[in-house]
Symmetry: C2
Subunit: 446 residues, 2 copies
């Protein structure tokens, strides 16, 4: 269910899809170039982007996959604000630590606010005020909200922007066992989330950085253009994605064991001298971090005083973890992992529309009637369609369709209308077929 909440179709003649024929000079990496060229985003100011209609749809589809897999793992969605009181960060001791990446703000009454770069403090404050008993635990809460980190040199488009959309979950448990189970739930949810987006994401032991704690994995998608150097056992690539049948209530150690048993490390953690993997089985490549999970125990609950009454009435500080997915960053990451010389190649689950329907002759009443008929049949079957009903020449239309990378193209023109056929092209492999209208609908709705 990632469809149904966005407009089911659009027509290029009245849509807002500004494509660029040339590569913009400011874009250094392929995803940034393609996001500008395909009219997905425009920069408002350094590191801050507007998501144009096509890009917005991709963002929302990624967000919805993340949401569904969080819900499945028994996390509950809420929404914290973008701005937070500085006071809470003084309580945790991070207000001064965080440095210039934190955007500090004074309101009209000279009170200190900040644009949240993450939400450990605020969620802990919410939970400490409302959760009093161990019976209310375990509890995992998440939200999908814009964050701000004032990068000194924002670049690579949405891959390293300043205002970015993140899913961040926070788990609260009574003890290590509950916290570790929550960690495992998110570990599994992340494997499923990225697999649904058509990505191969490898969990790697990671440094904990400013979040703190002593157990942490980064989820890294492999892409030659990635920012990080990574080393992993080749067998990790061959592991099957997890099915939807995982029972998140059960012990998940056996489920994640195949992933944690095999060596995988970013270059920060990798040490050639001690790496146990024989050279011929070690994959050395590059990747993009798209998720990061942390167990950090009582690092925040203690300074903030978040505790509950335990089974014997004793005060117990909450055992916590936090779990991030870079939602807006994933749009760039998916493009880095899935494009070719002609443009983007969207995995179907995150494509802005499933089908691009090219009307080769919009001024021909018969052709247009056939194109409209096909569009109506597809939308009736729940297929999202972008109809190119504009007056550009055929070559330009096909180039735009390849650039924006919808999974399927369906072309309706005078020759096909006479023969009663539609040309259907798969964007990924380029395979074309002439199909009857009925067969085309069945193929595209399949």
């Amino acid at each position: 269910m990632t469809q149904g909440f966005l407009a089911p179709s659009a027509r290029l003649s009245s849509y807002f899809l500004p494509v660029l024929k040339e590569n913009p000079a400011e874009a250094q990496i392929v995803s940034h170039r393609l996001m500008l060229r395909a009219g997905l985003v425009r920069q408002a100011v350094a590191g801050i982007y507007s998501w144009l209609p096509l890009g917005y749809r991709v963002l929302k589809k990624i967000e919805q996959i993340v949401r569904e897999e969080q819900d499945r793992a028994f996390a509950h969605e809420l929404l914290m604000p973008t701005l937070q009181p500085a006071e809470l960060w003084r309580e945790s001791g991070r207000y001064d630590d965080y440095g210039k990446e934190m955007l500090r703000i004074k309101d009209r009454h000279e009170r200190d606010l900040l644009y949240g770069p993450t939400n450990e403090e605020l969620i802990t404050a919410i939970v400490r005020a409302e959760v009093r008993s161990y019976k209310q635990l375990p509890l995992t809460l998440y939200h999908i909200q814009w964050k701000f980190r004032d990068e000194v040199r924002p670049r690579f488009g949405v891959m390293r922007g300043r205002e970015f959309l993140m899913k961040d979950a926070y788990s609260f448990g009574l003890d290590y066992a509950q916290a570790r189970h929550a960690y495992n739930q998110m570990f599994v949810a992340y494997l499923r989330t990225f697999a649904r987006m058509g990505l191969k994401a490898i969990p790697m032991r990671a440094a904990t950085g400013p979040i703190g704690g002593d157990l942490s994995h980064e989820f890294i998608i492999l892409a030659e253009t990635g920012e990080s150097e990574v080393f992993c056992h080749r067998d990790l690539l061959a592991l099957d994605p997890l099915s939807s049948g995982v029972d998140y209530r059960r012990d998940l150690d056996p489920v994640i064991a195949p992933y944690t048993a095999l060596y995988a490390a970013t270059d920060e953690k990798h040490d050639a001298a001690t790496c146990p993997v024989p050279a011929e089985q070690l994959l050395h490549t590059r990747g993009i971090e798209v998720g990061h999970i942390f167990y950090f125990g009582t690092k925040y609950s203690k300074p903030l005083g978040a505790k509950v009454a335990g089974p014997k009435g004793e005060d117990m500080f909450l055992e916590m973890g936090s779990y991030g997915i870079g939602v807006s960053r994933l749009v760039g990451g998916i493009i880095e992992a899935s494009h070719d010389a002609a443009g983007i190649v969207w995995p179907e689950a995150v494509a802005p529309f499933k089908v691009g329907l090219v009307n080769l002759k919009p001024d021909d009443a018969q052709v247009t009637a056939a194109a409209e008929d096909l569009a109506a049949k597809l939308t009736a079957r729940g297929v999202e369609v972008l109809i190119d009903d504009g007056d550009e020449r055929a070559g330009a239309k096909f180039a735009t369709m390849d650039l924006i990378g919808l999974p399927w193209q369906a072309t309706v023109g005078p020759r096909g209308v006479k023969a009663g056929t539609v040309e259907v092209k798969n964007r990924r492999d380029g395979a074309r077929q002439e199909l009857s209208v009925e067969a085309a609908v069945n193929r595209l709705a399949g």
Copy 2:
């Protein structure tokens, strides 16, 4: 289609729904009191709220109704960032005008940013860069994004918060006719949007304030606790809500004429001396502004230089309008319009769940099996269910259900299980019925 994107069910025993038995002292109006008591929101700092899981669901449902009706009216969704460059507001001349309500920010490089209170400047900058020809017009774009207005005294909960969620649409036309048609499209979309939420919203001629322009309507829902005094012809209340069959491409003057023909004014615009409505037909009451639409011509396009080549190649400045709906404010507004002594009474379209399923004896295996069976049958039919599987006494459970205001309550207890029945209660009228399980499912899924 407002369902399917949120988790289909939840269980109170593991959910995060902190209800308050007492009225919080800080809340002066009923919606604020009920939003705190029913666990919908918690304040992070003055005028800035976290939306807890139940409140978040209401917010998303309202947002989705707004989205669907915008899409139907040929508006295209995009997403602009929360932060904007001050530069654009200097171009329009509003940077200094806006006063202390605008939250001004300096980033690490001492560049001036601001947290957008509205988006006329940014959207005009996007359109001026991409739209070059009259053939690309008309165009209406909208987004649903958090805004910030630094109210000097934030109060009334989300009704007058500082960080708030707004839908704002912007129309771009070649001339007055196109601009006026876009205005009418939004007028009609607003009537439908509020009607779908179970609200009677009256369009009233309004002052244009800081947005400017010379044609403007506020959409006001009637509520005795409302902030504004309003005066309107009683016949406005009797007008039928618009059906979904409106064709937004056709002339909409006749569609809106019944609304604009009858007198309606806020007290700013009302003048008893010249009011044409006889006293016995004039309704004098209070209301809450939930939408505001503006036509303002070239007020922004001229200073920002947003123009296209017209049919004869001549430069033409874009004719614009803007159209807001207070999405987060609506949550409070709906409660003001729909509550009773026991709590909230959600209209079905925006209810966080449709059914509250009370398991009276969670420690009785037979009762629990029956409750689980009913929940499974309901979710299989697409009904969203909140299951109270906690161990409070029956009275407390029913009080919580009334407080949170789900449209239907279904009670499963030992007596009913023996008889093979479920008690179904309608929250609004309080009517109760003992129904067979099958009849209950049909009633609740209907």
